[in-house]
C-alpha cells in the first residue's frame, strides 16, 4: 500500500534534512564532529562498559535498540538520540519507566532499577559517563 507511503516520506525527508542541516551547522560552529548515523551492525557492536549494565542491556534493550525495524532509536546513533536527549534526562527516565510506543514500562528490563534505566538510556544515547551537560 504505497499510496500514502510517499507523502510521509517526503514530509519526513524535508523535516529530516532541515534537522540534519541544523545539527551540522551547530556542530561545526563549536568545532565538534557532527553525529553520524550508525548501521545496525555498528550499533549492535556497542556495549556498556559496566559489566552489570552490559548484562542488563544484552538481555533486554539490545533486542530492539539495535534493530531498525523495531522503530526504536539505534543505540549510539546520535542522529536519532540527540533530539531526545535534549528533552532532558528526567523526561527520558519517565519514558523508560512508563513505556512509549512499542516499548513497555521499564523498557522490557524487568530487573532494572530506575538508576539502571537512567544509566542504560545514557549509554544508548551515546552519553555514557556523561551527565546532562556532558554532551
Amino acid at each position: 500500500m504505497q499510496f500514502v507511503r510517499h507523502a510521509p516520506a517526503v514530509v519526513g525527508g524535508v523535516v529530516g534534512a532541515v534537522v540534519a542541516v541544523g545539527a551540522l551547522v551547530a556542530a561545526c560552529s563549536d568545532g565538534r564532529e557532527p553525529p553520524r548515523a550508525l548501521s545496525e551492525a555498528e550499533s549492535a557492536a556497542l556495549a556498556p562498559a559496566d559489566p552489570h549494565l552490559a548484562e542488563l542491556y544484552e538481555t533486554s534493550c539490545k533486542a530492539c535498540h539495535t534493530v531498525r525495524d523495531s522503530l526504536a532509536p539505534l543505540t549510539g546513533d546520535r542522529t536519532q538520540w540527540d533530539a531526545r536527549w535534549a528533552q532532558g534526562e528526567e523526561t527520558l527516565l519517565r519514558v523508560a519507566l512508563a513505556g512509549k510506543n512499542g516499548m513497555p514500562a521499564g523498557g522490557q528490563c524487568f530487573s532494572c532499577s530506575p538508576d539502571d534505566l537512567r544509566a542504560l538510556t545514557r549509554f544508548m544515547a551515546g552519553r555514557e559517563g556523561a551527565g546532562q551537560e556532558g554532551g
Binding site: 500500500m1 504505497q2 499510496f3 500514502v4 507511503r5 548484562e55 542488563l56 538481555t59 533486554s60 533486542a63 530492539c64 534493530v67 531498525r68 525495524d69 523495531s70 522503530l71 526504536a72 519517565r94 519507566l97 512508563a98 513505556g99 510506543n101 512499542g102 513497555p104 514500562a105 521499564g106 522490557q108 528490563c109 524487568f110 530487573s111 532499577s113 530506575p114
Partner: protein, 468 residues
C-alpha cells in the same frame, strides 16, 4: 431567490464542514494515548506492564537469579504469589503479582548441543531472536517459530506459543526434556522417561508448576526458506486453504477486514541464493489500513473500494534466507489479541462468521485477522492436544476498544469447539477449560502436588485452575 439559494449553499457547506470537523475531532479524541498507571506505587515499587500495557502490577520484590541454584535457594523464601516473567508479551494476566516477580533474563544462552541428533539444551530465559542466531551458529534451527521474536523460550513454551504449518507442531512439540524448580526449591528433571507425568503436565505449564530453567529441544538441520508474501482475494483463498496447507511447509494468511483481500504468506525449503527480506513494511501497511479506517469508517463501501484498489497494486514480495530470519518478525505497533485454536474442519466456517460480525458491527476494526494451522501434540495443557488445529487470531490496536473480542468474537470461537491460546485474551475459567482438555484433571492434580499451597497462582491463574 438567489440569496436564499446562496444561504442554503452556505448553510449546507457549513453543515458539511461542521460534520467533518466533528468526525475529525472524534477520531483525535479516540486516538489519544491510553492513561498510564503510576510509574511508582505508594510503597515505592516500580510499575510492571505487559507489552500491550493492559496488564500491570507493582511487584514488591523483583529478583533476577543468575543460575538455577540461586533460583532454587530463593523459591522457598519468596513471598507469594511468585510469578516468572520472560518478555511480558502475554496479553492475559499470567504475570501480574504484588509480591515476587522473577525475571529469567540472566538464565540465557546455549548450554550444550548434539550435532548428530540436532538437539540443543538452552537456558529458559533465552529470547527467541537470540536463540535463532545461537542455534544457526551450530547448524540447527527450531523447525517453527511464532510471529514475534521477542518472547523468552520459557514464556513461549508455557503459553503454547506456535507458528504455522500442517506438519508443524507448536514450539513445545520439540521439547524432549526440561528442568523445573518447584515452589519448594526442588530441582526436577523431566522427560518422557523421567518424571513423565510432570513432563506432560508442565511442558505447557502457564508458569503454574514452578519455574523452568533449562529446556532440551529437538531441532532440525539449519535450512534456507523461500518466503513469498502476496495479496489475494479472500473468498478464493478460503476456498483454496486446505490445498495451500497441504502444499507449503509453512503457510498463513491475514484477512484484511473491509477490503475483500488477504495477505498470503508461504514458506518452503529451497537451495536458491539468499535474497534479504528488506526493511519491514508491515508497520507502514498497518498504519495505512488505520488511515483508511480513519477516513472511511462511516462509508464502508468506499473503504472497501479504496483498500482493494491499492492492495491489488501491491507486488508480491520474495525473500530467501535461513528460517529463523524469516519466520518471526519485529512488531513495533502495539496491539492486543484473542486467539483460539479450533478443530481444523471448523476453522473456515468460524472465520467467515467472525468476519461477518466485524464487518457488520465493528467498523473501527482495521487490524488483519490472522489464520494459521498447527499439528497435534500430546502435552496435557496444549491447546493442540490430540487434534489438528486451525488458529484464528483477532487483534485490536492498543488505543482501540477491544470489548468486541469478548462480545462478538469469543462466542463464535467457543461454539466452534476452540481452545484459547494461554497468552492471549479469553474469558474462560476452570469449569469451561476442564471440558476442553481431556487430561485437565491429571494436569491439575500434578500442579497441586508440586504447589500444594498455591504459591505460583495469581488472580488470573486462580480463575484458570479453581474458578475463583
Amino acid at each position: 431567490m438567489t440569496m436564499t439559494r446562496r444561504k442554503a449553499l452556505a448553510a449546507g457547506a457549513g453543515a458539511v464542514a461542521l460534520g467533518a470537523g466533528g468526525l475529525a475531532g472524534r477520531r483525535l479524541w479516540l486516538d489519544r494515548e491510553p492513561p498510564s498507571p503510576q510509574t511508582v506505587d505508594v510503597h515505592g515499587n516500580a510499575l510492571w506492564t505487559n507489552w500491550t500495557g493492559h496488564e500491570h502490577a507493582w511487584p514488591a520484590t523483583r529478583l533476577a537469579p543468575a543460575d538455577e541454584a540461586e533460583l532454587a535457594a530463593l523459591m522457598p523464601r519468596a513471598a507469594a504469589p511468585i510469578r516468572a516473567v520472560g518478555s511480558g508479551h502475554s496479553f492475559t494476566g499470567l504475570v501480574p503479582t504484588d509480591a515476587t516477580l522473577i525475571s529469567l533474563d540472566r538464565l540465557n544462552g546455549l548450554v550444550a548441543h548434539d550435532a548428530t541428533h540436532h538437539r540443543a539444551t538452552v537456558r529458559a530465559g533465552t529470547r527467541l531472536a537470540a536463540l535463532g542466531e545461537a542455534l544457526a551458529a551450530v547448524g540447527q534451527e527450531m523447525p517453527n517459530l511464532p510471529d514475534i521474536n521477542k518472547q523468552s523460550l520459557a514464556g513461549a513454551l508455557a503459553t503454547g506459543t506456535h507458528g504455522t504449518g500442517k506438519t508443524m507442531m507448536a514450539l513445545h512439540g520439540g521439547v524432549t526434556a526440561l528442568r523445573l524448580v518447584t515452589p519448594s526449591g526442588d530441582v526436577v528433571a523431566c522427560s518422557r522417561d523421567q518424571n513423565p507425568d510432570l513432563f506432560h503436565a508442565a511442558r505447557v505449564g502457564l508458569g503454574a508448576f514452578g519455574i523452568v530453567t533449562e529446556v532440551t529441544l529437538q531441532n532440525a538441520p539449519l535450512r534456507r526458506l523461500r518466503k513469498t508474501t502476496s495479496i489475494v482475494e479472500t473468498e478464493a483463498l478460503l476456498q483454496g486453504w486446505p490445498d495451500l496447507a497441504d502444499r507449503h511447509r509453512n503457510v498463513e494468511f491475514l484477512i484484511i477486514p473491509f477490503s475483500g483481500r488477504a495477505l498470503l504468506i508461504t514458506l518452503d525449503e529451497t537451495d536458491e541464493p539468499p535474497v534479504a527480506r528488506g526493511p519491514d513494511r508491515d508497520a507502514d501497511g498497518l498504519m495505512q489500513l488505520k488511515l483508511l479506517r480513519d477516513l472511511f469508517e462511516f462509508v464502508p463501501a468506499l473503504r472497501r473500494r479504496a483498500a482493494a484498489f491499492f492492495l491489488d497494486r501491491e507486488p508480491p514480495e520474495v525473500a530467501v534466507d535461513e528460517s529463523w530470519k524469516l519466520l518471526a518478525n519485529e512488531r513495533p505497533i502495539r496491539f492486543t489479541e484473542m486467539e483460539y485454536h479450533v478443530p481444523i474442519e471448523a476453522q473456515v466456517g468460524a472465520l467467515r462468521e467472525i468476519l461477518r460480525r466485524i464487518e457488520t458491527s465493528r467498523r473501527d476494526v482495521f487490524f488483519p485477522v490472522e489464520v494459521r494451522i498447527v499439528a497435534p501434540d500430546d502435552a496435557w495443557l496444549s491447546p493442540f492436544y490430540g487434534r489438528e488445529s486451525g488458529s484464528i487470531a483477532v487483534h485490536a490496536y492498543y488505543k482501540d476498544d477491544h470489548a468486541f473480542l469478548y462480545d462478538l468474537v469469543e462466542p463464535v470461537l467457543r461454539a466452534a469447539g476452540g481452545r484459547p491460546h494461554w497468552g492471549k485474551l479469553h474469558a474462560l475459567g476452570a469449569r469451561e477449560l476442564r471440558a476442553l482438555y481431556p487430561m485437565w484433571d491429571a494436569a491439575a492434580e500434578m500442579r497441586q502436588a508440586v504447589d500444594p499451597e498455591g504459591r505460583m497462582l495469581n488472580r488470573h491463574l486462580r480463575r484458570v485452575f479453581f474458578d475463583v
